[in-house]
Every structure is written in structure tokens, then in C-alpha cells.
């Protein structure tokens, strides 16, 4: 059957809505091959005399079916990649410009390149905002409720300097009461856990 592989690809995408599954290079290559084969067959048939085979039956319906299959395959491939880019984009906002290793392993080379490009685009845009040195849109993601929040440190992070110059020693399982804007980024990186009473 035509487009079976494309269908599998989309199903895979659909099953992993919230996570980024490993890039399915094999399947994408195979779909590419299927498209190439279909195009070649179509070209041969289209050149056959008056598009009729030896039995005198018109080849045009066959060509049309193949054509539809080609388009469907293309659409599926593009949808697969587009949706992956979208979740990558969401991750840029979640993790900042450095992706966790386990996610990085799931990307194709082209996707890593795109991510780097997207990061630099975004950084450039943020720098251009305002008059003095830009605005970091990556913080203040949620409306602030309180100025200070209680956090638990999940790893041995070491020294951490606050913007007022005081230095904290972050040890595993230590609890801190810190300004929200200082620790927002570390919470997203998983260094801190926000303790909600």
C-alpha cells in the first residue's frame, strides 16, 4: 500500500504529543525512497506513447493515484518535521538555549542546527528590545504572586550569587527562601524545586 510508512510516522508523532521522540531517520529515508520510486514510475508512464500500455488501457488513472500518493507522503513528512520544530520551540522557552543531553540525543542534525539558529534569532530579538541592553523574555513566565518563594535544592550546585551580591552555597536538599526572579531559571533547569504549601 502507498503511504503506509507515512501513516506510521504520523501515528508515532501523535502518540508522543508531549515528548520529543527520537528522530525516525529510517522511516523518513524510506518514505523518501517511496516518493522517488513513485515519481520515477510516473515519469516512465507519462512518456509511454499516449499514456497507454500494450493492452490499450489508459495509464492516466494510475498516474493520478501515484500523484496523490506522492503528495500525501510529502504532506506527512512535512507535518512530522513541522510538529517537531514546534515542540523544539516550546522547549527553547522551557529550558533556555541549552537543551538537556537526553533531548539532544533525539534530534537530527538539521534539527540541532535549527535550534541553534532559533536561539540566536531569539537572543537577537530580545537584545533589540528597550533602550538598555534588551529584555529577557525567558523570565517572568508566570504572573508573580509573591516576591519570595521557598525552594528546595535538588543537586549540589555550589556557589550561587544573587543580584545584590550576596553568595549562597547551594547544597543538595537544602531549603532556601529567595526572591522569585532570582531562582526562576534554576527551577526550570531542575536545580530547584518550588515548595508549594
Amino acid at each position: 500500500m502507498f503511504c503506509d510508512k507515512a501513516h506510521t510516522l504520523i501515528k508515532e508523532l501523535d502518540r508522543n504529543r508531549d515528548i520529543l521522540s527520537p528522530y525516525n531517520n529510517d522511516l523518513v529515508t524510506e518514505i523518501g525512497k517511496e516518493i522517488t520510486t513513485l515519481i520515477e514510475q510516473n515519469q516512465i508512464d507519462a512518456q509511454t506513447n499516449e499514456s497507454r500500455n500494450s493492452a490499450g488501457v489508459s495509464l492516466i488513472p494510475t498516474i493520478r493515484v501515484r500523484h496523490a500518493a506522492i503528495h500525501r507522503n510529502l504532506r506527512c513528512i512535512l507535518a512530522y518535521h513541522y510538529n517537531r520544530l514546534n515542540s523544539l520551540r516550546t522547549m527553547r522557552w522551557e529550558f533556555g538555549s541549552i537543551l538537556p543531553v537526553e533531548i539532544k540525543a533525539n534530534l537530527s542534525t538539521a534539527e540541532s542546527n535549527w535550534f541553534a539558529k532559533y536561539s540566536s534569532m531569539l537572543a537577537k530579538y530580545m537584545r533589540s528590545l528597550g533602550e538598555d541592553g534588551g529584555v529577557n523574555l525567558g523570565i517572568d513566565m508566570r504572573p508573580p504572586k509573591a516576591l519570595y518563594i521557598e525552594v528546595r535544592c535538588m543537586v549540589d550546585y555550589g556557589r550561587f550569587e544573587l543580584s545584590d551580591g550576596s553568595v549562597l552555597l547551594l547544597k543538595k536538599n537544602s531549603r532556601h527562601y529567595l526572591p522569585r526572579c532570582e531562582c526562576e531559571e534554576l527551577i526550570r533547569q531542575g536545580v530547584f524545586q518550588h515548595i508549594v504549601n
Binding site: 512535512l78 533589540s128 508573580p144
Partner: protein
């Protein structure tokens, strides 16, 4: 003495505002109000709205001014924490607004850029700021390059198809709005060519209506999305 500084902050701001934007003198509170309005509109409108870069720049300037003042206060000062929270709220407001716009630009890059070019040709006012436009262009380029990479297994493939069929915002989606003025004879666009229904808005009245019927009113600021 410390106490009086904070209260003066706002007064100083007002004066500064007057100096900066001579044509429209605005107080700090008015700027914030404008920003909130723009933020709500941007949040609820399905389509991108004209940029409010003056308001954003104004508020950003204000925020850094207030932060500067806060830094001069003693850490133990009770007022400091109150004002810091206020500044944080303002920062959230601005960043959320800008993020909202970026999201729309990214989702509808192709169609937004096309509309911008049309506006440029007709010498109309552009919706995007310069940096947003630059961002949109490089975003579009990166997507195109990524797609071309994928389809490179067969050179000369009809890859233009996705370009002609971009993701478009659903401008027929329904929005809640509050009218700020008396507006008469708003045409309800239901997508058919049949007789047009008209509706009159009263000041302060609240309605649910499809976005494309009121898009112009939202842009001109006569209604407020809620």
C-alpha cells in the same frame, strides 16, 4: 527620609513622561493602563495586532527607572518589597505581551509577512516593529531551509506547495468584548452573501461576536477584548 523617595518616584515619572512624549502627555498609571489594554487585546485576538512599541518602550523605561530607585533603598525597607512586587508585575505584563506577539509571529509567519509586504507596498502603517520584522524574516528563512533540507532527496520536487498553503489564524473565532464607545451599525460577518445583520454597541456593553466582524474596531481601540 527614605519613605518619601518612593512616593516621589511616581511623581518624577509623570514629569519625565511629559518630557519624553510631548505630543501625548501620559502619566505612569495611564501608560500601564494602555499596556494592559494592549496585552489583553493581543492575548485574545486570533490575529496579530498593530504594534504598540511606544507604550512598550515607555513602560520599559519606567521599569528600569523604578528598579534604579529601588536599588538605592535599604534592603530591610518594607516599602521596597511592595514596590519590587509591583515592578515584577509590570515586567511580567510587558514580557507576556511581547511573548504573545512572538508566538503569533512564529505560528503564522508566512501569512503575516505576506500581509506586511502588502502594507508596505500600499504605504500603510506596519503592524510589526522593525526587530519583530527582522525576527519574522529570519524565522521564515530558517523554516524554509529546514524543509528544503528534508526534501532534498529528490531535487526539483514540487516543494512550493506548502508555501502556498500557510497556516492561517482563524479570524472567524469568537471573542468576548466590551465596547468603550457607542458604535452603531456593526456588520455581523457570517461568511454568507445574504442580507447583513447589524448590531449596535452601547458604551460598556459586553458581547460575544466573531472576530472578523470587529477586527477593525479592536485595532482602532474602540472596543476592548476581555
Amino acid at each position: 527620609m527614605e519613605d518619601s523617595i518612593n512616593i516621589e518616584d511616581f511623581d518624577n515619572l509623570d514629569n519625565e513622561e511629559n518630557e519624553e512624549t510631548e505630543e501625548v502627555p501620559l502619566t505612569a498609571a495611564e501608560v500601564i493602563e494602555l499596556m494592559e489594554e494592549a496585552w489583553r487585546n493581543e492575548k485574545f485576538a486570533p490575529d496579530i495586532l498593530p504594534n504598540k512599541s511606544e507604550v512598550v518602550d515607555c513602560l520599559l523605561g519606567q521599569i528600569s527607572y523604578m528598579e534604579e530607585n529601588l536599588r538605592n533603598l535599604k534592603t530591610a525597607d518594607f516599602q521596597k518589597s511592595i514596590h519590587q512586587l509591583e515592578v515584577d508585575r509590570l515586567r511580567f505584563l510587558v514580557s507576556s505581551y511581547l511573548r504573545q506577539r512572538l508566538q503569533k509571529i512564529e505560528a503564522y509567519t508566512f501569512i503575516i509577512l505576506r500581509q506586511e509586504e502588502q502594507r508596505l507596498e500600499q504605504n500603510e502603517e506596519l503592524y510589526l516593529t522593525n526587530s519583530e520584522l527582522e525576527f519574522a524574516r529570519s524565522y521564515k528563512e530558517s523554516i524554509e531551509q529546514h524543509f528544503d533540507d528534508i526534501l532534498s532527496f529528490w531535487p526539483g520536487l514540487p516543494s512550493d506547495e506548502w508555501r502556498n498553503d500557510p497556516v492561517v489564524p482563524n479570524i472567524n473565532s469568537f471573542v468576548f468584548l466590551k465596547s468603550k464607545n457607542e458604535i452603531e451599525g456593526v456588520v455581523i460577518d457570517d461568511g454568507t452573501e445574504e442580507e447583513e445583520d447589524l448590531v449596535d454597541f452601547k458604551t460598556g456593553s459586553q458581547l460575544i461576536i466573531s472576530y472578523n466582524s470587529v477586527a477593525n474596531l479592536v485595532r482602532s481601540g474602540e472596543v476592548q477584548l476581555i
